[in-house]
Symmetry: C2
Subunit: 448 residues, 2 copies
């Protein structure tokens, strides 16, 4: 049996649709779609055979299987022909121990999945390789797609621009005029995306981009697009694989639009459905308190979403008050006895800085996850006996201003940074320098 | 026979010294040391056996062999015990095709070795994992090293801070006061390095840091340190391995202090000495015209180094007028019929921007290499028949200001950027947006 997959309505409406169909929402209810895999066909290989295949392909030199995503080709997008894969070496990122941060929290084995050490600098590469590859296949089969568009100012537009450029397809980024700077858009601009800045707000942009999609051959890479989640779910498979096919006790992941936790849950569900693992890890979604509608739902027993007006947060990519993937996220969290936790701006910034002392350079979203881990540890929900993976979503190099502001004590959100470090100014005399060296080596790094 | 290695004088003075000895220069002549491997011991494995071993370990899940550096353990640092390895998943970076850039130059198979997609964002990780691991071993064997120091403002200090933090050893960065900003130092500061800013110039800093090394248990991670080159040479081994153990015709690499090309040459020499390859690629060292003493030497038949006062360049990490590794670089280039080429500020910036249109986000140093490639192609030295690898040294995310300045046309060095891209501002009307879309799709990306 050849593995296959199709779209179906996540809410349960009847109907299934090929993945080559240009479709973003359920035609019946307008809700989220999901990619449904033919689990029976996948069961023609045993769990041991899948493990052996994935281990043989792990970062292999046989392109594109060396990609963390395409090493799991049959589980991700079985109907995609290998010749249409557009890969930039995504996935296969390091799982880095943070022993001092863990010990400070009274924990044991805590590792960070470094998804930001990637081509465009964020985990978005994992989903974009799938979406752009599928678009390439759709074009090859004769559908007139002329460009791929999104309305993101951040990591999504950078990943789209990179993969579209590699595929030879134009990327279009559509945004409200005057609300974005060249600095925010420098990756997609550099990679040749057509950036259109409209005199309207985000909703106005979406209305126009939908018209372009309907009439002008533009494919939408928006957050509703379920293809991206199929790539992102490989984080779950990878981290289990990197732990010798053992399931960690907890996975902590930051959440805004909630696509990433939905993908993580889908990955673990597929691993269990195919017998590769026999239990699920508990998942904690970490949100900035300024944008925490999922946490509000969790506290009321996973009550229906009440959209909020998200306030600005240093974790700018998760400043989202009405998350698109809320239903998928809650289903994934219910299935694994998951939790949601909110953290303040000071908490996320201090956690980010403290973990950096183990040799990382964490982005503020990773700081949100690290701060939530600290809270769960403080109340005894996560203990020294638990093996924990924290998902880092982007490179800290994308957030140099956040880092500089923290260490220069100029962030309005963090009046008393606990872990700041700054240069020691000295006369150029050996005795003075030696004295500073002795003082510096006598104290733990960077406790102000 | 167990493989072994030791220090010896690069200029040929008698004597050999264990790698665990704290030694930075030849005790006889004060010149460069090199790490000499016991090639006879390494020959107890055949070339085919080495290829098979390296392929089995390539990015393996068996840590630390999944590291690009430690997968080549016996060739890199055979006397280092596995338990002392400090790895952050360095190496194994993608070899990315840039077909449109290549075609525009009239070339064929051109790939970029993405050394910047790494833990701290540059190729310096490859060398620093070796140096810090050796320091860990030296400490474990009872020598009182209390900290590792360097005098870099850039990628070296970031890599040192990361690996030292991971090893639990303190990093010390010593710099002239007032010549550096928090932004330049934000990686080492965040990772807990002790940063000492002295009221003197770089030479004054070096004088004091040498006293600390002699008297106060500080190990120097400076440019003369030969251990780092042993890690950096794995770029040569990796790119041959990624090409199916074929030798490319040309490798183009940016050069400042010239350690990186020295390491590249050492890697190819070792591959040939052990029969894994049967010829060397030609190497082109690319320099910014503002800092091009190697090019001057090349033009006079590899004449002795005449140090110059390097002028500021956008490729700031290679603004070096008196390169430490000049003798090693010239030897490597002579051995492979290598060349050196200089490029202007506008050339490096335009080449960087043009290659980005293939989906990269190149740093200015990579731009120097890409511009040199264009010059060698223009004069027919590199042709469509050649397979070419361009070594990219750092993540473009470290150079966001360079990118923004280019696309905003605010770089004084680049008055007429050829490949700039900027947002198109529009009213929020479907017809206006569709018109802009049509115009945008009708033209090649970003030609101003």
């Amino acid at each position: 049996m050849t593995p296959s997959a199709h779209y179906r309505c996540f809410a349960g409406c009847a109907g299934s649709y090929p993945l080559e169909q240009i479709l973003y929402r359920c035609p019946s209810c307008g809700g989220l779609l999901e990619v449904a895999h033919d689990t029976d066909a996948l069961r023609t290989r045993s769990a041991a055979e899948w493990r052996a295949l994935f281990d043989a392909r792990w970062r292999s030199l046989d392109e594109p299987y060396g990609s963390g995503v395409w090493g799991k080709h049959e589980w991700v997008m079985p109907t995609l022909a290998r010749e249409h894969v557009v890969s930039l070496g995504e996935g296969g990122t390091h799982l880095t121990r943070i022993p001092r941060y863990a010990a400070a929290l009274g924990l044991g084995d805590v590792r960070v999945k470094q998804c930001g050490t990637s081509h465009s600098g964020s985990f978005k590469d994992l989903g974009m390789t799938v979406l752009v590859s599928m678009v390439k296949q759709i074009i090859a089969r004769g559908q007139p797609i002329r460009a791929i568009a999104c309305a993101s100012t951040g990591d999504t537009s950078a990943a789209l621009a990179a993969y579209a450029a590699a595929a030879g397809v134009r990327a279009v980024v559509i945004l409200p005029r005057g609300k974005i700077s060249t600095a925010q858009l420098v990756q997609p601009l550099a990679m040749g995306a057509l950036v259109l800045a409209l005199d309207t707000d985000f909703d106005g942009c979406m209305a126009i981009v939908q018209q372009l999609a309907e009439r002008d051959g533009v494919y939408l890479a928006n957050s509703m697009n379920s293809l991206r989640l199929e790539g992102q779910k490989t984080v779950a498979i990878e981290l289990v694989q990197q732990l010798g096919w053992r399931v960690p006790d907890w996975v902590v992941i930051p959440g805004g639009n909630l696509g990433n936790v939905s993908a993580l849950g889908a990955g673990f569900a597929q691993l269990r459905a195919l017998g590769v693992i026999d239990r699920l890890p508990r998942i904690c979604v970490a949100q900035a308190a300024h944008a925490s509608p999922l946490v509000a739902s969790y506290r009321r027993g996973w009550a229906p979403l009440e959209p909020v007006a998200a306030k600005p947060t240093l974790a700018s990519a998760i400043q989202i008050g009405n998350p698109v993937s809320f239903p998928k996220a809650v289903a994934a969290l219910r299935a694994c006895d998951g939790v949601a936790e909110a953290v303040t701006e000071a908490e996320l910034a201090d956690a980010s800085a403290r973990a950096d002392l183990d040799g990382l350079f964490t982005c503020p979203h990773t700081g949100v996850a690290l701060a939530a881990l600290a809270k769960l540890a403080a109340r005894g929900e996560i203990t020294r006996a638990h093996q924990v993976v924290v998902v880092s979503t982007a490179s800290g190099l994308k957030f140099a201003e956040f880092k500089v502001g923290y260490h220069e004590r100029t962030l309005a959100e963090v009046r008393a940074p606990a872990w700041r470090n700054s240069p020691v100014e000295l006369p150029a005399r050996y005795d003075a320098v030696r004295g500073a060296l002795e003082r510096g080596l006598a104290t733990a790094p960077s406790r102000d």
